[in-house]
Symmetry: C2
Subunit: 431 residues, 2 copies
């Protein structure tokens, strides 16, 4: 027997919740998420878990209204109720979300109708126009550097790290990532690089300091640019790095290489041709570039809750969609690498540090903020573990870019690794 | 001044070609191909080359009719006239085609209207239905193993090799390629592999012999399957490898890995979902696979002359199009590598061997056949050198495939390389 939304709403409007109703509604959750090893408890009621499945987690749902919302629009309702304390989960949050995502994937359930409608509506008022992008980016990245300093590495790198081995520390893995990007680009001293979306400037500084290149780095987050400039001052790298507070669409000049790490997620699919055009007018057919971004296996909407609460305007493309940046301009795709497990590991480090700073976050930003960010970090871990999210690095070049090595072996030879561990030993002036 | 097609035809119909007409028509070629360093000579006339460009090659055009055809539909006309001896080129043919392709790329000229119409028409009668594919494949691959033995390596590998270094021999590079594919797939002893489009069986035999896996290999070329079975007999590998003369669409059974090297070109874009469906029903969400195929940077028609004369039914996709095989089934793309320079080098080896066997080819197959194949090989070299063609290896996996290593470094470590050179020393029983 399958309930329709209207028959469900009729029952919610009934004045009292009886144990009979509870017994009837709770199993419907498992119709949406599949038979996950979770025990559901409504209010002070008895628990329910799918028959034949040993529960590994307990999810407490405060009231019938929260349960009804979950049935109508699972993701948004779960996120909001978790943040407001109307849903609680026992056990490791990332592990819980991982088993639920995996179970949902097996059940092949799409988002509810309500979620799809909301998603379109959010898409409209978060449009990435020049003004819209500035607002979207400000709302996330200008929360205050002190907040990010609590749980990021000492260089404030807020993108997927690269772990040469699982046991590498977060500091080592972030430095290794910066270096891996430089090595994929085969940067040579004296070359010029344009960076679109430079965060707190770690990559731009790494390129200038360790590879002797000249970098012009764009970002529309005021807080981040201010911090990056300060670091360039402290390291006396102002002659090599310019940090510009402006939109990637306003990039001008000619460069040898284009790099963008963690910006494509904020560009929006409708602006991919514009991004391609920016790339082409800066590096032409003689340059090469690297795009590092969160992607997915299939075209679909990005988490509406994440867009509503955490990343307004974000969109995560399938690889096929991302090609729309490069294909119109005839760029060669030389190398695509999926670093999915590396992002899960990076996020585990971040969540671990975040949890250790929980009391500070709580006292400064309040309980709802703390829960929202914990859910976002844990949910991202689950996404990268189960594969609803991927991390792509695309290395591309124009038709007239010549000096590509014969194989990729140089990226993994000892000399590169030596340089990498050397770089990893560098201690930033601000730490 | 730009001529229309009708005004051009009027002049061709004129009974005599005057030097004045020649002087007027020859420069039009350079409107199509751009100012390439080529001297054009019509009949017994004087040569013409673009002003200010020192010619490196001479292209002789027998008559006005050939010249007119070139102006109307450059690629088909050039190919046919070259084959029939109505056009001749002095100097290295691959180098000549390379400068012409590069010049055409700069001039951003698309194919002529006639070429586009012909292309659609060829596409119709070469459709890759089950019957159509059999006919298309038969016309190329069943030319006789003796023909391919003249210029391929001793294992008869008719796909892009992998040169660990530029100086590797063709034999070494083909064995290295077979091994590179196995290492990308991380094959383990006892696993099962399905191969779609197995050629003369070299990869299937390599996997079974060197990696201890069980392989079921499909091909619709009778000659190739017969040869592959004979090799399995000689190597006593019949318990590990089964060669099946059938279409990839009829593949059945469950396997750990799917591999297809050089078949996607013959599948046709309209059949990509069917191929994806074959992959999904054989390896499901727990398996992984590798697609190795000729691609291009932008969606466009494949050379109409190659399709008319050499590879009926062939289509070469942009990376974005190839995703249509994998995306509908939610496969993760772990790794995409472009081996373009490796295919140029492979083809240089093939053309060199082909040239050395020219007298045998001439006496067995005639002059037109010899010229057609020489043009095809030289044109492919030029395509991979200039980048109108690429060679993609896509490594993908289902959502439940687990044992991926943390980084790609294992593909390039010494132990792998040692195994590679070991494998390269193996001498096939048939050589």
């Amino acid at each position: 027997m399958r309930m329709t939304h209207s028959s469900l709403t009729d029952h919610i409007d009934a004045p009292e919740s009886t144990p009979r109703l509870e017994k009837w509604l709770l199993p419907l959750i498992f119709r949406i998420v599949g038979p996950a090893p979770v025990r559901l408890v409504l209010g002070n009621g008895k628990g329910f878990s799918p028959p034949g499945v040993a529960p590994r987690f307990t999810m407490w749902i405060r009231d019938l209204r929260t349960l009804a919302e979950l049935l109508i629009d699972t993701e948004i309702a779960f996120g909001d109720a978790f943040v407001e304390g109307r849903i609680r989960v026992t056990g490791d949050l990332a592990d819980f979300l991982e088993v639920v995502y995996a179970s949902m994937g097996d059940a092949h359930r799409g988002p509810g109708w309500c979620s799809r409608a909301l998603s379109r509506w959010i898409g409209f008022w978060q449009a990435n126009t020049l003004e819209g992008s500035r607002h979207n980016i400000h709302s996330h990245y200008d929360l205050g550097n002190d907040f990010y300093r609590l749980w990021l590495d000492s260089q404030l790198v807020y993108t997927c790290a690269y772990f040469p081995s699982v046991s590498a520390t977060l500091e080592e893995a972030q430095t290794a990532k910066l270096d891996y990007v430089c090595r994929k680009l085969r940067l040579q001293p004296g070359e010029t690089v344009i960076e679109a979306g430079c965060g707190w400037g770690a990559l731009a500084l790494h390129m200038a300091r360790n590879y002797g290149v000249h970098v012009k780095a764009f970002n529309i987050s005021r807080e981040q640019i201010r911090y990056a400039r300060q670091r360039a001052d402290e390291e006396d790298l102002n002659d090599k790095v310019g940090f510009i507070e402006d939109d990637y669409r306003n990039v001008s000049g000619k460069f040898d290489a284009f790099v963008s790490v963690g910006m494509l997620e904020h560009v929006g699919a409708e602006n991919y041709p514009a991004l391609g055009s920016v790339i082409h007018r800066t590096i032409g057919d003689r340059g090469r570039g690297l795009l590092h971004f969160i992607g997915r296996t299939q075209q679909s909407q990005f988490s509406p809750w994440i867009r509503k609460r955490i990343f307004p305007g974000a969109y995560v493309p399938a690889l096929r969609e991302a090609m729309q940046v490069l294909e119109p301009f005839g760029y060669f795709v030389h190398d695509v690498e999926d670093l999915r497990p590396h992002y899960a590991r990076t996020l585990e480090h971040w969540l671990d540090r975040f949890d250790k700073s929980a009391s500070q976050v709580l006292s400064t930003y309040g309980a709802e903020f703390e829960r929202a960010w914990r859910l976002y970090l844990a949910g991202s871990i689950a996404g990268f573990r189960t594969g609803t999210l991927q991390l792509f690095q695309i290395h591309f070049a124009g038709s007239k870019y010549a000096p590509l090595p014969w194989t990729r072996a140089d990226l993994y030879t000892e000399s590169s690794q030596a340089r990498e561990s050397e770089a990893a030993e560098w201690i930033p002036a601000t730490s």
